[in-house]
């Protein structure tokens, strides 16, 4: 049974339809990359999975259970972890408080967060708004890990970050997947980065899947991916 199963999902905001009859699945421990140009529905897909976009039809199943009507906070408690594009660090909470506010019992705790990114430990008394972009992203990832998810949804995690930081984050994400067996869904504009971090990939255009394949194959024949993501 797949961990997450999306079947013929049509979703959007209000009356506007962004995703049309989309179907996909993610197995436990699997890495899926979602590629595509701006505005093709990548973020909406994440919002729909987390319960923040309007689901018009279709179904969402988590470990076999229908969650299409489940409130967003319960989805988070079931093990869906989402790192939003905006990062949304709480500015007047310290780094440590930002982590503790999300804490749920499980294998991953404060110490693990600091082991993962020692820089966060150095900054643990800093306010959330006194962090660099890279530190904010590290904090956003750890805050989601504190909820002890089984699936990690990452929305443009490398956007606006210096190449050195991107490399560090990529190495960490790879290690997390290898050691803890997280399933991940990663949405990225930088297709090569996302393909390198995943097992499988889908390419979206205008709310539909236009290309699907193993990441290694798509990397080897990148021209067909570029067709759909070139601006």
């Amino acid at each position: 049974m797949p961990l997450l199963e999306v079947e013929r999902l049509t979703a959007g905001y209000g009356e506007a339809v962004v995703l049309e009859e989309m179907s996909l699945s993610v197995d436990d421990g699997e890495g899926l990359a979602v590629l595509g140009r701006n505005g093709v529905g990548k973020t909406t897909l994440m919002l729909a999975i987390m319960g923040h976009a309007r689901r018009l039809s279709g179904s969402l199943r988590w470990q076999g259970t229908e969650i299409g009507g489940t409130p967003a906070y319960q989805r988070a408690r079931m093990g869906l972890g989402w790192v939003p594009q905006e990062r949304d660090i709480f500015p007047s909470l310290t780094v440590e408080e930002n982590l503790l506010v999300a804490g749920r019992p499980g294998a991953f705790g404060l110490k693990d967060a600091y082991d993962l990114f020692p820089r966060l430990k150095e900054r643990r008394r800093n306010m959330g708004d006194k962090l660099s972009g890279g530190e904010q992203q590290m904090l956003a990832i750890c805050r989601t890990l504190m909820t002890n998810p089984r699936l990690l949804l990452l929305d443009e995690p490398f956007e606006g970050l210096a190449p050195v930081i991107v490399e560090e984050l990529e190495a960490t994400l790879r290690r997390l997947r290898a050691e803890k067996g997280f399933a991940t869904v990663i949405v990225e504009q930088h297709a090569e980065d996302a393909l390198a971090l995943s097992d499988r990939a889908i390419v979206l255009d205008r709310g539909k899947i236009v290309l699907e394949g193993r990441s290694a194959d798509l990397l080897a024949d990148f021209a067909q991916v570029r067709r759909w993501i070139a601006v």
């Binding site: 906070y73 939003p84 709480f90």
Partner: protein
């Protein structure tokens, strides 16, 4: 604000005790300031921590006052039991009201709480048999606290009794603010959209905060009724609701010691100004309030934090 928050409680307590020895003729005033502080702290759990405004918080204050007064009239005269009853009744009322208060945004919350306040005021006014209507209730006598300490004419018992309640409430809220629940409330204030994604049930958290806040406001009201031997309509009126918002804002909303300073500061100012000029004291309050907005960014606590930071940078 963190620096001010940690460890400001003890000096404040020492100040209060020093006040007992230095100004023994002002014990009644001190008592009323302690009660105002409890009330302001209860309100600031909503405004300062969860970011939920209300213009009807006196409803719970008044409910607490009437609860203990009515019980005392019917023979339950032990003050601590009266307090507990007020706490429970006010908290239950808050729990019932939370459904209509917590939904919506700040503007709708202001209107709804204002409306609830007017309704409760009119209801208390009409229920003369229970509340004494416009005359209030004064035909009750409180027994000794815990059966040991009789309320004396000089107000010593009332002073320590109210101070003890203030200390307990202060400590409780201080711990609450640092708990995961307290952090979640601040998260709701800062980014309510983000909270469900980390598994936080926003409505349930707000309902819990509202219930606790209402219960503590009821404690404050009951304290006032017990120590002044009077429960009246103005205790749940609009003016008292507006006043508590002023106190929290003046003190520095979100800071527990700041709110205590705001409540005692404004309470004292009101007393001093009305003694100076019974006719024009509200003018003075108005000027202070307006000045505080422009001069004291973030209230007393905000200004103190900024000052400490500046001194450190210079050192």
């Amino acid at each position: 604000m963190r620096m001010v928050r940690v460890g400001a409680g003890l000096p404040l307590l020492l100040l209060a005790v020093a006040g007992f020895f230095l100004f023994p003729e002002y014990l009644t005033l001190f008592t009323s300031l302690f009660i105002l502080s409890v009330f302001a702290l209860s309100y600031d759990l909503l405004q300062g921590h969860a970011g939920v405004v209300s213009l009807g918080h006196a409803v719970f204050f008044g409910t607490g006052a009437y609860t203990t007064a009515i019980l005392a009239r019917h023979g339950l005269a032990e003050p601590v039991l009266g307090l507990l009853a007020a706490l429970v009744v006010s908290a239950l009322l808050a729990l019932v009201l939370t459904r209509i208060v917590v939904v919506g945004n700040d503007l709708t919350r202001l209107l709804v709480t204002l409306g609830v306040g007017f309704l409760m005021f009119e209801a208390a006014n009409q229920a003369r048999d229970l509340t004494g209507g416009a005359d209030g209730l004064s035909d009750f006598t409180m027994g000794p606290v815990l059966g040991l300490f009789r309320f004396d004419f000089a107000g010593e018992t009332a002073f320590f009794y109210s101070l003890a309640v203030l200390v307990l409430v202060y400590f409780f809220l201080w711990r609450l603010a640092a708990s995961p629940f307290g952090l979640a409330l601040r998260g709701i204030r800062e980014n309510v959209r983000r909270m469900p994604a980390i598994g936080a049930p926003v409505r349930r958290h707000l309902a819990t905060a509202y219930t606790i806040s209402g219960g503590i406001a009821g404690l404050a009201g009951a304290l006032l009724a017990q120590t002044s031997n009077f429960a009246s309509l103005d205790m749940l009126g609009f003016e008292r609701s507006a006043e508590v918002m002023m106190m929290a804002t003046l003190g520095g909303t979100g800071s527990i010691p700041g709110v205590v300073l705001g409540a005692t500061g404004l309470g004292y100012l009101k007393d001093a100004l009305s003694a100076m000029s019974p006719k024009y004291w509200q003018l003075g309050i108005g000027i202070v309030l307006m000045l505080s907005v422009f001069v004291l960014r973030g209230g007393i606590a905000g200004a103190a934090t900024a000052l400490i930071r500046r001194l450190r940078e210079r050192a």
